[in-house]
């Protein structure tokens, strides 16, 4: 057995190595990926979005690799929901590019697509779950109808196929099939989120965008939804971008995290590193503010 010690041998200042600058924390910049040979599924660069005089998003870069969960965390007004809306092609940015490495779309700036191509991408390649189920669902129609609509938009015309697809999607979201024809307005919040999830998954998209999917739900229901998301991500190898202000949700699901404040990304890193060794002053405040 060999032994080493890190007792500094001949430095004048006890405990502080001479070779280091006086004020350091972690390495500020990291190497580019070498082991990960595939390029990211999602790359968004230079995102800028202004509403009048308010700059909601400024110079934001997002990348997400296939099969990972990327968390975007920040407080209200940080711009994280705006970023999600841009990634969902719901709004056009004032600047920036956005590519998805999917068949037929590689190299295409999605912000430059015409309205037909954009709708096509939104329908087939991206699934979205909103915080407010009223935004994502048609409350007057049945839950199965909400899911079936996605297939109807892409031209499915067989009633039997629609029923089967709705069943499959709702079951994958752990929604009780005996209630599949209940309208969402009769369901609890957690159930409504499951219908949204089923609707988002109906066409088996490669990218799933979640905007505070469990905010406002009971804690026990939150746990169930998080578990469903994790299982789905593993089974379907989906790429998920998860926006949340809840660090518990981020810790449970995200692999990597972007921390946003006032429209900018102030820090990015692995989830446990962000939560346990936050580098940026704001991130430190955010993490330490947890009750």
């Amino acid at each position: 057995m060999t032994a080493t010690s890190n007792r500094p041998s001949s430095s004048p200042d006890k405990g502080v190595p001479v070779s280091q600058p006086a004020r350091t924390h972690g390495y500020a910049s990291l190497q580019p990926p070498v082991l990960t040979t595939r390029s990211p599924l999602l790359v968004a660069s230079g995102l800028v979005k202004r509403y009048g005089r308010v700059t909601a998003v400024e110079g934001v870069e997002v990348d997400a690799y296939e099969g990972e969960v990327l968390g975007i965390v920040g407080e209200s007004g940080s711009g994280k929901s705006t970023v999600l809306r841009l990634l969902n092609l719901q709004e056009s940015p004032d600047a920036g590019t956005y590519t998805l490495d999917l068949p037929g779309l590689a190299g295409q700036d999605l912000f430059a697509l015409d309205r037909f191509a954009r709708r096509d991408v939104q329908t087939r390649s991206i699934g979205v779950v909103y915080q407010n189920p009223y935004l994502g669902l048609r409350m007057r129609f049945t839950s199965s109808g909400n899911v079936a609509e996605r297939l109807l938009i892409t031209g499915e015309r067989s009633y039997a196929a629609l029923r089967a697809a709705a069943r499959e999607s709702l079951a994958a979201s752990e929604f009780p099939l005996d209630r599949m024809d209940d309208p969402p307005r009769l369901l609890s919040g957690g159930m409504q989120q499951r219908v949204q999830l089923a609707k988002a998954l109906a066409l088996k998209p490669r990218l799933l965008l979640l905007d505070e999917p469990t905010t406002g739900l009971d804690v026990s229901v939150q746990a169930l939804v998080l578990d469903t998301l994790k299982r789905l991500q593993r089974e379907r190898s989906m790429t998920i971008v998860l926006v949340s202000h809840d660090l518990g949700v981020i810790r449970a699901l995200a692999d990597r995290v972007l921390v946003m404040r006032n429209g900018r990304v102030v820090e990015r890193g692995l989830t446990d590193q962000i939560l346990e060794d936050p580098q940026h002053a704001y991130t430190q405040q955010l993490v330490h503010a947890r009750l």
Binding site: T4, A22, T24, L35, A223, L270, E276, D277, A281
Partner: protein, 230 residues
Amino acid sequence: MLHVERLTKTFHVDHLGRDIPAFAPIDFQLAPGQFALISGANGAGKSSLLRCLYRTYKPSGGSAHYAAHAGTIDLATAADVDIALLRREELSFVTQFLRSRPRVSALEWVAEPLLNAGHAWDAAVESAGTMLDALGLKRALWSAYPSTFSGGEQQKVNLARALVYPRRLLLLDEPTASLDAAARASLAERLAAIKDAGVAMIGVFHYPQEVMHLVDHEVRLEGMTNDVAA
């Protein structure tokens, strides 16, 4: 397999305006199948060193070159996605703290690394069961939620999850803290077995004497006596 050179970590706590060094520059090397014990007084930075290698903490300086399957990489400055890949495939970190998701059973929690790697449900769950058995977790608890377990039981679940999927480098942070003597002995046996299989390990142990027979290399951390104002 692992070549650590002048690795250091200093925390900068913004609201205090201070820099707090975790440990002074450390050097050591580890080959496959070797076991390094990290020793030192409380607060000397033993956990911090492990976390720096796993990248839960971002090192401030130095390097930790690791010979991964696909090539050598410096853990200190590697891209986040590369670290995520290594954590899935080759690196494992065991603490005494359990952080499972709320509604996941102990068995599923242990099986998850296998499921994430694409193994079939039945095979993964069977391996998980075997591991829990070997570590001595009562079968009745396998379908229960680990957050309700005692410290020792949570520890066993933690260990099982880390050991169920073969890794190349295992980082162990006080893995036996809440275990009774029998369970500690059982763990020492498991570690000996995987050491023979070529897994490299770096560990902080509350009762180092129980694993001394496995140790190839001891890394002693001296305490940081000053912290420096920024």
